[in-house]
């Protein structure tokens, strides 16, 4: 007799709500991955580089396709493949203590280097080591160089330890660009550098930057039409990735701005995976990257409680534009230097505290929440002082949760949820105290 085992059909997954800009962004990213994985066929050459200090306008001058290993690690986190990659890297000798982006990348290479579209990543033709705001970057590309044996170009961005950009820093970077980076990119690509082409790309960057800033600052309204952390991650994708300096980016940010303007006009809150968020109860500023392995679950802990993030430091990691910086086509190399110098993680701790305090005040936030990332010292070292200092300056309560970028072992949902709930209660108490005092 043949036994028939009937497996019940799983309930249909609830469709994730996305606004049109998110769909468009996803299409752009998918298109870019197709372009990357098709590079061996198309003959395009690939430059790997990092999000902070990403010189996309320059890279495009040489017809190179930009590949960002942090973005690949994020994709692996969102797709829940990073955990296995991290373990693989640890198995082959990488310490459990170090950056999980690196281990996700190394593990992905060890397991076939498969891109989110299921095709194999091409080997990079050049590693543009834009050493900006994160020590790990230097080791990461030394590790990749060991594997790929390709040209590796160091661009050293000095740290803004004294809270200012000095002429010495800019001159040093411009010299590196002129005498190291550009000649080597010419050699790898076979394309002669054209500074007018760079200027054109930079002009395009400015347009996109203007619209991005408008979108981010729309969160000053009540209710905020956007979530500037979870939603913000979608918004920064194109400009922090392979699209800054392109017509596509101009079009995307124009589209996004119109979409947000429409939400604003209708008094709508942000779009979440469960649809429009109604009833903004808490306005938060968030410091630190998110967790990607449980991204939606993490986000849900906020919107279920009516918490919207009105400003975040993470959305400044690939460029700080909301304090006035724009790429300047009239000074093309200097502006690239100043862009790199100004990214969030290249700013001194006092500068970071100033920024976050400013966000809490300007966006009329209820407080600061820090998501401290286990394997990211660039962000995490000093965050407890940041928390206390911002609290002291703004008079608003701050809280601290811990997780990791792409290592699922360090995401403890119950723990984070407990802390968030306590934090929201603290905000309520603070409000009640303020009302009683009024």
């Amino acid at each position: 007799m043949t036994a028939i085992i009937v497996t019940p059909k799983p309930a249909a997954a609830k469709e994730v709500a996305k606004d049109a800009s998110m769909v468009k962004q996803k299409e752009m990213m998918a298109g870019h991955y197709d372009r990357l994985t098709n590079a061996p066929q198309s003959g395009e050459k690939v430059a790997a580089t990092f999000v902070p200090g990403n010189l996309n306008e320059l890279i495009m001058c040489f017809g190179l396709v930009n590949n960002l290993p942090e973005v690949n690690a994020i994709q692996n986190g969102l797709r829940r493949t990073s955990g296995a990659y991290v373990l693989e890297a640890e198995k082959i000798g990488h310490s459990e203590d170090v950056c999980t982006y690196v281990k996700s990348d190394i593990g992905m290479m060890a397991k076939g280097n498969v891109a989110p579209n299921g095709k194999k990543f091409p080997n990079p033709d050049v590693l543009l080591l834009s050493y900006t705001g994160c020590f790990t970057f230097m080791k990461w590309f030394e590790l990749l160089r060991e594997q790929y044996k390709c040209e590796t170009i160091m661009l050293h961005t000095p740290y803004m330890g004294d809270g200012k950009i000095t002429p010495n820093m800019v001159e040093y970077m411009v010299k590196q660009l002129r005498e190291e980076v550009i000649p080597k990119l010419e050699r790898v690509s076979g394309v002669k550098f054209d500074i007018d082409r760079l200027r054109e790309n930079l002009k395009k960057s400015v347009k996109a930057e203007e619209d991005l800033v408008w979108v981010l600052q729309s969160a000053k309204h009540k209710p905020s039409p956007i979530d500037a952390y979870f939603g913000g991650i979608y918004y920064i994708g194109p400009i922090f990735g392979a699209f800054r300096g392109t017509d596509d980016a101009i079009e995307y940010y124009k589209f996004l701005r119109e979409e947000v303007a429409d939400r604003l006009a209708h008094g709508q809150g942000p779009v979440t995976p469960d649809g429009d968020m109604a009833g903004e109860k808490y306005r938060l500023v968030v410091e630190g990257p998110p967790n990607y392995t449980n991204f939606r679950q993490f986000w849900k802990m906020f919107y279920d409680e009516g918490a919207v993030v009105v400003a975040s430091s993470y959305t400044k990691v690939g460029g700080v534009y909301d304090f006035g910086f724009r790429h300047n086509p009239d000074k093309p190399l200097e502006t690239l230097a100043e862009y790199c110098l100004g990214v969030y993680t290249n700013r001194s701790l006092p500068m970071r505290i100033d920024m976050l305090s400013c966000y809490v005040n300007d966006y009329e936030a209820d407080g600061l929440l820090i998501n401290s990332i286990k394997s990211c010292n660039s962000f995490s070292a000093g965050q407890l002082l940041i928390m206390r200092e911002v609290e002291k300056r703004t008079g608003k309560p701050a809280a601290f949760v811990e997780s990791d970028l792409v290592d699922p072992r360090y995401f403890s949902a119950a723990n984070i949820k407990n802390r968030l709930e306590s934090y929201f209660q603290m905000i309520e108490q603070k409000r009640a105290g303020a009302q009683a005092a009024a």
């Binding site: 203590d97 030394e142 740290y159 190291e180 010292n377 000093g382």
Partner: protein, 395 residues
Amino acid sequence: MDASLKSSATAPIVAHAQALFEDLSFTAAREWKAAQPGRKVIGYMPLYVPREIIHAANMLPLGILGGGDQLEVIHGDAYYQSYICRIPRSTVELGVSGRLDFVDGMLFPSICDVIRNLSGMWKMMFPHVYVRYFDVPQNYRDEIGGTYYVNELAELRHDLAGLRGQPITDDELRRSIALYNENRRLVNELYAFRAERPWLAPAAEVYLVLRAGLVLPVEEHSTMLRGYLDAAKAEDRPRRDNCRIVLTGAFCEQPPLNLIKSLELAGCYVVDDDLLLVTRWLTGDVATDGDPLRNLATAFLHQSQSTAAKYEPNEKEKGQHLVRAVARSAAEGVIFAAPSFCDPALLDRPMLQHVLKDAGIPFIAFKYAENSGQMQPIREQAGTFADSIKLWSGA
């Protein structure tokens, strides 16, 4: 004092060095400062700062290497998450507990993101102290990284001159450069001596004598080095059947002294290491004629140690410094000892291990914290490593 040192010729020198090492109130530096009005003390953290400029300003460069295993960290833990190494939290402890209240300035060299961020924390926590993040070039061309670095050095010179209220002259710089040249030659002589006869210069003693150089004025330290070298050469100490190893990865947060002793007790003579690299960061003399800042910059670019905090532009050179250290010191293996959560050491380690593997050099690895107390696992691991080298080398 270690009982075994009492009757040896090196004993008083090592005892003095050990007393300096154990003194977390930095009495010697306080006394130096109090001896003349207007003297100032400039603290610095690993990995490297040009101490010559501080000395030329008639200031005392004071190495701050955390609190070791004798400092109870109470306040420092409130500033750091559990997954950050120990040196910043014990350094904060030194600061908030008033142990550094005589320090007029602090330099935070470019080594990693933790020390980098600590520079900003220090600015906020101790606003009356001169604080500088000391960046160094990762581009080693004279006209690019060199020019940038000369300007950074000039800024440091200008700031220190402001602190003392008087410019630092070229001649003052040249004199200091000459003194540090001499000191480095003595340190290198000590390392060469230990590599040749490690049983006469135990690793823990060499460490203590070197570490004294982070507290004492360079002139006094050079005298101590000479004294120790003479005394050690005259010692009659038994040669053990130990293997010879290079210790690497311990360039920032320091291992407990017991860990260094444990390695030798377990059968491993330490014949080279990357401890206290500031004492021999520059591998040759700095020129004493011409522009002193340019000379310091040239030495940094072309005559400095390789370590994880420095970019290696040539892939083929990556890790070769370790292979050369093994050959130079006739070592038989390498021990990777890195502080927990140390990004530079731990991220670099797989690459270095690949190089050693290709060169057929055996190695082991473990982690520590400056306050690690349990040495038994390390002794067992090092002992097994020593046994395996003796059993299988040349097989």
